[in-house]
């Protein structure tokens, strides 16, 4: 990797939250004395990201993904740790830094509700001091990429959620930021629109060599877009690396799917591996990686097999398992 443009070292962000007993009496009590405890939103996170990378942050609700993004964009002061983005310390909020990144949040909007999105773009042009010719060029390019020519002059409140999200993206990209933080960009969108959004993000990353960090609940977003994935849970990084490596690291088994010619007693499968599901004629057995060929041979020999298929476990399932295991632990 070349010289990283985002460096995060042992980042911690704790929130003080007060505990309240239930009921009215609890509320009155909490007026006078409050017990505080720390919520560790981010708890010792370190990573580096190079120019032009497209990295996915995944984790359940409250894992610390958004908090990390907010620290990186300078909204929050961290409790401790070192953060450098483009050689700036984000929370100093230097103008030169702010001109080079953009934060898009799927659930928060910056467009003026009662006006056509065009007006918001013009305002951002002034705020970011984008020269006229560059503004025109960028706008044309984005409008073409997102296919929104015909809705530029329609009031934002009359647009559909998907159309509005596209406009939000244009507003966020009009100053051609080098770094883009996307927090749940596809939330609430229908499948077709999600796909379009992904295509756009991929294209934008390629065409402008922009560095993008994306958080999402939808595995599809991450699977399709990101080569590298950082999995966060309870404020800690569980995994950082290539998506395929997740499988090697966390899934020590493969799935064998058999189609049977006639019914077999379910007990018999247990000799081979863990029976995941069995509904005649289809049975799915999970088998340790090292024992796959042995198991397959045995199946073909001893069972009335019509068809046999060996697959990697689904990434979604693996990740779900990882998170569940973590939750049990804590």
């Amino acid at each position: 990797m070349e010289e990283p443009i985002i460096k995060v070292g042992d980042l911690k962000k704790y929130y003080k939250v007060h505990q309240k007993e239930p009921g009215l009496i609890g509320s009155v009590k909490s007026l006078f004395s409050r017990k505080y405890y720390d919520v560790k939103a981010v708890d010792g996170v370190s990573f580096e990201i190079g120019e032009g990378e497209l990295v996915g942050f995944i984790g359940p609700n409250g894992a610390g993904k958004t908090t990390t993004l907010k620290v990186l964009s300078g909204l929050l002061y961290p409790t401790s740790g070192k953060v450098q983005v483009l050689d700036f310390t984000p929370w100093e909020r230097k103008t030169a830094f702010q001109k080079q990144f953009s934060l898009v949040m799927g659930q928060k909007n910056q467009l003026w509700w009662d006006l056509p999105a065009m007006e918001s773009f013009i305002l951002n042009k002034e705020i970011y001091e984008v020269p006229d010719d560059q503004y025109k060029k960028t706008l044309d390019e984005l409008v073409e990429l997102l296919e929104v020519e015909d809705i530029l002059k329609i009031q934002v409140r009359k647009l559909s959620l998907g159309q509005r999200m596209k406009m939000e993206l244009i507003a966020a990209l009009i100053h051609s930021p080098k770094i883009l933080f996307l927090d749940e960009p596809t939330i609430g969108l229908d499948v077709v629109m999600q796909k379009k959004m992904r295509d756009f993000i991929r294209e934008y990353n390629k065409r402008f060599n922009a560095t993008i960090i994306l958080t999402s609940h939808y595995m599809d977003d991450v699977k399709e877009l990101c080569e590298r994935v950082i999995i966060i849970d309870h404020g800690k990084i569980l995994f950082d690396g290539k998506l395929e490596a997740i499988i090697k690291k966390f899934a020590d088994h493969k799935l064998l799917t058999v189609i049977l010619e006639r019914e077999v007693d379910a007990e018999k499968f247990r000799e081979i591996g863990k029976l995941e599901s069995y509904e005649f004629p289809r049975a799915v057995i999970s088998v340790k990686r090292s024992k796959v060929s042995e198991a397959a041979a045995k199946l073909l020999k001893d069972f009335p097999v019509d068809d046999l298929n060996i697959e990697e476990a689904q990434i979604e399932d693996i990740i779900r398992e990882v998170f569940t295991a973590e939750n049990v632990k804590s």
């Binding site: 929130y15 958004t66 907010k70 964009s73 300078g74 909204l75 929050l76 002061y77 909020r93 103008t95 030169a96 702010q98 001109k99 990144f101 953009s102 934060l103 949040m105 799927g106 659930q107 928060k108 909007n109 910056q110 003026w112 009662d114 006006l115 007006e119 918001s120 013009i122 305002l123 002034e126 705020i127 970011y128 001091e129 009031q155 927090d183 749940e184």
Partner: protein, 262 residues
Amino acid sequence: MKHYFKVFLALLNISAKNYLEKRWNVFGIITNSTISLIIMVIFVNVYFSFSKEIFGWTKYQVFLLTGIYRCVSSLFYVLFFRSINWIPNYVQRGTLDIFLTKPINSQFYITFRLTRIFELFSVLTGLVLVYYSLQKMDIMVSIINWSFLILGLLAGLLILYGIYFSLSTLSIWIGRFSGITDVFYILREPLAIPLDLFGKTTSFVLTFIIPLGFIITVPVRLFFGMSPWYFLFFGVFFASLAVWFSSWFWNFSLKHYTSASS
């Protein structure tokens, strides 16, 4: 500086367009300010039907003060009121996040985000009242007194800004602040009449402890030569203090900003 001026113009422009989207707004302002002007004139007339002078103020001096009150409070509406009023909303909805990432001073951006240029009509009604009372009093006022008045009022506008902005900033700490508009009315109401009418102690407190007196009463007293000239400097001092404090408090609060979760 040029950048900030350009952004200010762009904000004026977009706010005006936004406002015109609901055209009833504009008619609302015209009717509203005309009716409230008439009511005010009736009230002052009623007060002075009992006595020619109240706490050293004559009827037309009070008219002038009322007119000026209208100018100042309308100007406050034009420039600051709606923007500051929206701060609790920004905090609650998390829109503040987006403003904070903009390459521009966040206090400046939020202060001028929602201007109401059409409220200038109300300033006009105030000016009519000022003109009328000056005609009735039939006095010559020197340039010095005029400049005392104008400088004093500018300082007053900034005092009101500083106090109100700081109060609204509290929403960063308390999360919600739906009563912020009511707080403004409480601040504004006593400004409509000379503070001397509240009696000595109250008027002292409202002048030197909470410097509301410097917003309108003192500039008008300076105009009539009822207060010593150096009161202007007190006004400027309080204005600088209020604006400095609002900026310090804003930045201090942002350090503790936790951002609405999404």
